[in-house]
Amino acid sequence: WVELLLRVVVSARTYADFTPQATFDIKKCDLHKLEEGPPVQAVLTREEGLQYYRTMQIMRRMELKADQLYKQKIIRGFCHLYDGQEACAVGIEAGINLTDHLITAYRAHGYTLTRGGTVREIMAELTGRRGGIAKGKGGSMHMYAKNFYGGNGIVGAQVPLGAGVALACKYQGKNELCVCLYGDGAANQGQIFETYNMASLWKLPCIFICENNRYGMGTSVERAAASTDYYKRGDFIPGLRVDGMDILCVREATKFAADHCRSGKGPIIMELQTYRYHGHSMSDPGISYRTREEIQEVRSKSDPISMLKDRMLNNNMASVEELKEIDVEVRKEIEDAAQFATTDPEPPLEDLCNHIFHNEPPLEVRGTNPWVKLKSVS
């Protein structure tokens, strides 16, 4: 009952005790072909802070849970984890609206969450169950939600797709934009430069974001790119280089970029300097091309969740207990989702050939031998 007493004491401390909002200094962004950049100060309200904390924590725990399930062989195939990069996904979403559009590559679990997917759906998709966000048909790399176009397996292919979505935004005149993400590895793909050209020519409302986590699979940026200034690679497209571990920095830069696009000035590039704690995917231990010390250093000095937590605590915007409570809730939510993901049944075999086409009358599909005739409905 001591615990009960403590909880009562904590909740007795009214929210009027906390600072409702505070202003923080954030790192200045490097600019390319821009006169001014995003502001060097950001205002964070208590509500925002708690929401960002919770979302980042969910994301972190979800990825770690996926790691666990993968090692237990409950998740198979490819699994590219996002832990360490949470500030990017949550910060970007904070700078745009849900009516805007977003597309990314295969390290997509975080974005599926920020774009409206639930943890249950995401985890069940990873374990290949019928409750998955793509009914188990897509897996880790092919998750979709409203205004979220995946989840794309082919490196760099999502960039022209994103520009196409931006074209549709401009065509339909709804003042929406498209955020189009790719990594430092993909930044050397030819189709990205074709896309830069067309997006700039046609002034498409597209924010190109390079998530530079310093390694394209096992190749460090110095070994892959003649110019590692990814924010300048768009040449005629203005660019910003942003501290991707600081959620406020990411948010302010995204808002700045969104304003740029919405005012009809055409595309803009953001390079987010970030870091992934895991290897490229679950089959990569992640220590053959970088040192454990490096990973530890980033974890201790620049972890996005810790940074936000410290900021909030130091400015009396939340209490340790409050944040711990959020941690407990998050843990429970993840456990619950993992439970669902491991117990939900696999998709029924009748579903094998469905969804080949959209809006199509049922058709027959050849099975593995001529006598197996399967049915497909859309």
């Binding site: 995946g150 797709l161 196409g164 979505v165 065509y171 067309m198 859309s378």
Partner: protein, 426 residues
């Protein structure tokens, strides 16, 4: 200045050529006169010689001179005037049958679909201000402007991806490849981003896109510009692949493709663009569509089935005409769609004729003909075959340049005739 052919104007308002209509009127009157009694003054006037001397110069053309020429043109004889109904039928000039080139058919189809649905737009190299590399999109940019007809830089992978992204976000793009040879640069976007997405997203994300352009051999363009991609695209689930032959096919299939909510590859043929075909009144209607996945029997026959797609259908019909003189009646099937393949129509034909020959312009290995052979073997029609299926295909080499070599690299009519006689053991 906009070039609209007279035939098109007449076609749209459904008016015959004046000269044709006047001829019909002349012959109608002529027939009426002939059917009257012998003594009827009209009849006497036809042959009458006027007294007196004619003026100097060429003798004037008289009514009978004109009518004789008319009758030759229409193909009737004086004796046939006795049967009024038949006479009327034979001299009637039909405005409904309009001659339309494949190019114009595609152009009109796109024009009508652009008008019908705001979300439809065309992008590709030279489609706007140049009027299309092969003039298929002539006049469209002038009519619809920059927003709907977009010239792209030479970036196939880039603009194909952009087109797919636009389709994902709710528009209905037509992505033109100058030829399908260049689509190889962009094939990842066609297959991985367009074809597979509906399945990977369990139906959440549709991709209503059309990829179109000329496919297969042209004339003298050599190896890198002459490949047929029917087998490559026909291999992939999630994609629909159509291959029109004549103008009606082109109109109907392109319209169906644009109205389809799924990725469709339309394999046109550059050599067919300038060829004119008669299109029925029904074929000219704005809502005329041909269902994707249905083949057409272009010519019925009893002795052997010829299955083909695109330009080779014409070759099959020509071969059939030659063979008919020797008493061999070929049934010619125009596939129209490569994927999904209409095996039922082929099977029904084989059950009737017992002999099957596939004719295609592409290479033999893993080709359209190979697939048809496999399917026929797996189905009920196998028991009705009196001989193995024969594939007539392009020669298994990269396309050479020299005319004599090029001519011998794709199936000729004599190859089809030879194969028919082989299978019929003649």
């Amino acid at each position: 200045m906009d070039k609209i052919r007279n035939e098109q104007i007449r076609g749209t308002v459904k008016v015959e050529q004046f000269g044709d209509k006047a001829r019909e009127a002349r012959l109608r009157w002529f027939g009426r006169v002939l059917r009257r009694n012998r003594g009827y003054i009209g009849q006497r006037m036809l042959e009458m010689e006027l007294p007196g001397r004619r003026r100097r110069g060429r003798p004037q053309r008289r009514f009978m001179d004109v009518v004789k020429v008319d009758m030759e043109m229409v193909g009737v004889k004086v004796e046939e005037a006795v049967d009024r109904a038949r006479w009327r039928q034979m001299i009637h000039c039909d405005f409904q049958l309009l001659q339309v080139t494949v190019r114009d058919a595609l152009n009109q189809a796109m024009d009508e679909e652009l008008e019908r649905d705001e979300r439809v737009f065309l992008l590709g190299e030279e489609v706007a201000q140049y009027d299309g590399a092969y003039k298929v999109s002539r006049g469209l940019w002038k009519k619809y402007g920059d927003k709907r007809i977009i010239d792209t830089p030479i970036s196939e992978m880039g603009f194909a991806g952009i087109a797919v992204g636009a389709a994902m976000a709710g528009l209905r793009p037509i992505c033109e490849f100058m030829t399908f040879n260049f689509s190889m640069q962009a094939i990842d976007q066609v297959i991985n981003s367009a074809a597979k997405t509906c399945y990977m997203s369990a139906g959440l994300q549709a991709v209503p896109i059309v990829f179109r352009g000329p496919n297969g051999a042209s004339a003298g363009v050599a190896a890198q510009h002459s490949q047929c991609f029917a087998a490559w695209y026909g291999h992939c689930p999630g994609l629909k692949v159509v291959s029109p032959w004549n103008s009606e096919d082109a109109r109907g299939l392109l319209k169906s493709a644009i109205r389809d909510d799924n990725p469709v590859v339309v394999l046109e043929n550059e050599l067919m663009y300038g060829v004119a075909f008669e299109v029925s009144e029904q074929g000219l209607s704005k809502d005329f569509t041909i269902p994707i996945g249905k083949a057409k029997v272009e010519r019925p026959g009893n002795h052997v089935t010829l299955v083909s797609h695109s330009r080779m259908v014409g070759h099959c019909l020509d071969a059939a005409a030659v063979l008919a003189k020797e008493g061999i009646e070929c049934e010619v099937i125009n596939l129209r769609t490569i994927r999904p393949l209409d095996v039922e129509t082929i099977e029904a034909s084989v059950v009737k004729t017992n002999h099957l020959i596939t004719v295609e312009g592409g290479w033999p290995q893993f080709g359209v003909g190979a697939e048809i052979c496999a399917r026929i073997m797996e189905g009920p029609a196998f028991n009705y075959l009196d001989a193995p299926v024969i594939r007539v295909t392009g020669v298994d080499i990269p396309m050479p340049y020299a005319k004599i070599l090029e001519d011998n690299s794709t199936p000729q009519i004599k190859d089809i005739i030879f194969s028919v006689k082989k299978t019929l053991n003649m």
